[in-house]
Amino acid sequence: MKHCLIAVLIFTLFTANPLLAEEARDFFKVGVITSLSGDLATGGNVTKRGYDLWANTLNAQGGIQIKDKKYTVKLFYADAQSEPSQGASAAERLATQEKVDFVLGPYSSGVTLAVAPVLEKYKIPMITGSAESPLIWKQKFFYTFGTVPPVNYTGATPIQTLAKMNPAPKTAVILGSNDAFSKATAEAFKDAAEKLGIKVLKFNIVPSGQDLTPFMSAVKVLQPDLVAFGGHDEELINLVKSLRQINYTPKALLMHYGVTEPAFIESLGKDAEQVFGASVWTTSVHAKSDMLWPDAAAYGKAAEEAFKVPADYTQAGSSTAGLAFQAALQKIEAVPPLSEANREALIKALEELEIQTFYGKLKFAKEGEYYHANVGITPLTIQIQNGKVVIVGPEKDAEAAAQYPLKPWGQR
């Protein structure tokens, strides 16, 4: 009787384990953790568009071809509410209740840093389509990958472009909002500026959402040639408005994520003109692929048809995260549901992956400071010209010459 009870107990334990009690199915369960509400809802919803577009396009073609059968993908969304703690809870739920095969990762580095350890615990692979803080890759999470390169890989490019202007900016004020991505952006700008001999007059991390007008009044006195800001969409718009209101036009204004968002141009109109930004993708990059979309322009067209707004690099990076899983699954020929051994094989396949996509070359670093981040693509300097995002650097990728210095606000 005692042995019988122990046997029942062991059986119950095994069958109660959420990762072992898996049903046979003809679709992959894909968990999606992103910020659909809260302060980061804009970026979060842009990533959602990217994931949705990948899943819908793939499913319309029948799904992922594995051996002689096609398997569709089904997305299971969890709202991180722009809070790392909510993101971690969402990861826990997707792992234990939804029993997802793999995860398309959060928007924002802060949420990714909270989600990654949870997925390490459950051994579930994740590719984030939008998290750029170098801190993520320094942690060396085995199960976490990212399609957008870290900001210390991309952030130097626009400063290098600006350093080639005539006359080149000699002084800079650099600031970043107080979150993982924005701080890393500001630090990347600072490092690059100092290496190129641009004197950094002020470097500050400011509270998120802070009204910076008094700060910019103090900056105006210093008259720096370059003002560079690491922040998110709404903060960037507010900074431009602050500079406009105090009537101070530096020679160059550089920002990172958010400049390529349609809302930046729509909200600021003429004041958005000539603002520089860092990006890794636009619809005009030269990239050819045989997976879902033949090139960047085709992806841009599909995105615009689906959502009625132009796609930016976050949305493209998110769709690419789906493509990476798709290619790796085909390589290992794993069918749903994925066992722990399948998931481990998937990680190995992702590490070996080197594919051409509409987003450019996708290749995850296997070691070093960029561990599991995408290092296949070339960082770009972009500038808003005539209401459009235009590549102005590096020279080999430039579509147009950079407009420099910034035209004074009052003369637009």
């Binding site: 302060d39 809802a41 400011v206 009204d211 910076l212 008094p214 209101q245 968002e261």
Partner: protein
């Protein structure tokens, strides 16, 4: 760095002006109805979006749209107040707590609705006043005053003066003051508590909505914007003394100065820490606010 002193003072006033606009209605509603309305930020957001769409449709400068936004939201507030009254006058539980939870939920609901209806992108309300600034110079000293922020300060002071006049010089104001002091006695003197509270709530919602339009001209607007403004209105009102209307401008300007001086003279990273520290110290010394006249 002394050169920046006039700028720091002016910026303190200008930031304070924005805080006055978002907190004065909140304080009025608390004084009369004893409700801490955690949906204040969402009223601001909804008003901002009405201003944004009206500006697109009419192409009028947002400042000319303020009266219309006020009327629309005053009517909404007036109609909506009985619902809140019902929550606050329940026999079971703690009415103050119920009001808090109710308005918090209301705020969440408005935010979700905002995301669904207005989308997740940020917007800006263009105004002719946003493009210009005054530049004053005297010797080595100089000050830049953005016209739009100066207009915001004028708006804040006008609202304060109008409310002061309404409360101190009119029969309606007498009824409102009587209600805030003793609801039962006011009722016995013939004050219609329900109707007067509805008017007050309408005025508060209308002012908050107008402030949203102003904020949309100075900063940007989004469906998520409400949370920050709720927190700052609460700060200002607590600092002024809950329900003490005359203290609101002083508390708002104090917070404005703290932020302005920290951003210009100290480390901007600690701006919010300084704001919290001031609030903490004031409440420690005087739990009823700066003037010890709060409820």
């Amino acid at each position: 760095m002394l050169l920046l002193l006039p700028q720091a003072i002016v910026d303190g006033f200008l930031i304070g002006g924005i805080y006055v606009t978002i907190a004065i209605g909140f304080s009025l509603a608390y004084g009369v109805m004893h409700i801490i309305d955690f949906a204040v930020g969402e009223w601001i957001m909804l008003g901002a979006f009405l201003g944004f769409y009206l500006n697109i449709w009419t192409q009028w400068d947002p400042f000319f749209l303020l009266p219309f936004v006020f009327i629309v939201f005053a009517v909404i507030g007036f109609v909506f107040q009985p619902v809140i009254h019902r929550v606050l006058s329940g026999k079971k539980g703690n009415p103050l707590l119920m009001g808090l939870v109710f308005t918090f939920g209301l705020g969440l609901m408005f935010r979700g609705l905002g995301l669904t209806v207005f989308g997740f992108y940020s917007h800006s309300i263009p105004s002719a006043l946003s493009a210009n600034s005054f530049f004053l110079e005297s010797g080595n000293f100089f000050v830049t005053i953005p016209v739009i922020r100066f207009a915001g300060l004028v708006y804040a002071l006008s609202i304060t003066i109008m409310l002061h006049y309404l409360l101190k010089k009119s029969d309606f104001g007498l009824a409102v003051r009587a209600l805030s002091q003793n609801r039962d006695a006011a009722g016995l003197m013939g004050v219609n508590a329900k109707r007067t509270s509805s008017y007050v709530y309408g005025i508060y919602v209308g002012i908050s909505a107008m402030s949203g339009v102003l904020i949309g001209c100075i900063f940007s607007i989004s469906a998520q914007m409400g949370g920050d403004y709720t927190v700052f209105s609460f700060f200002v009102v607590v600092l002024a003394g809950m329900g003490y209307l005359s203290g609101v401008p002083w508390a708002a300007f104090l917070l404005g100065f703290v932020q302005s001086f920290f951003l210009i003279y100290f480390n901007p990273s600690y701006t919010l820490l300084a704001v919290f520290a001031i609030l903490y110290v004031v409440l420690l010394v005087s739990p009823k606010g700066m003037f010890a006249k709060g409820v």
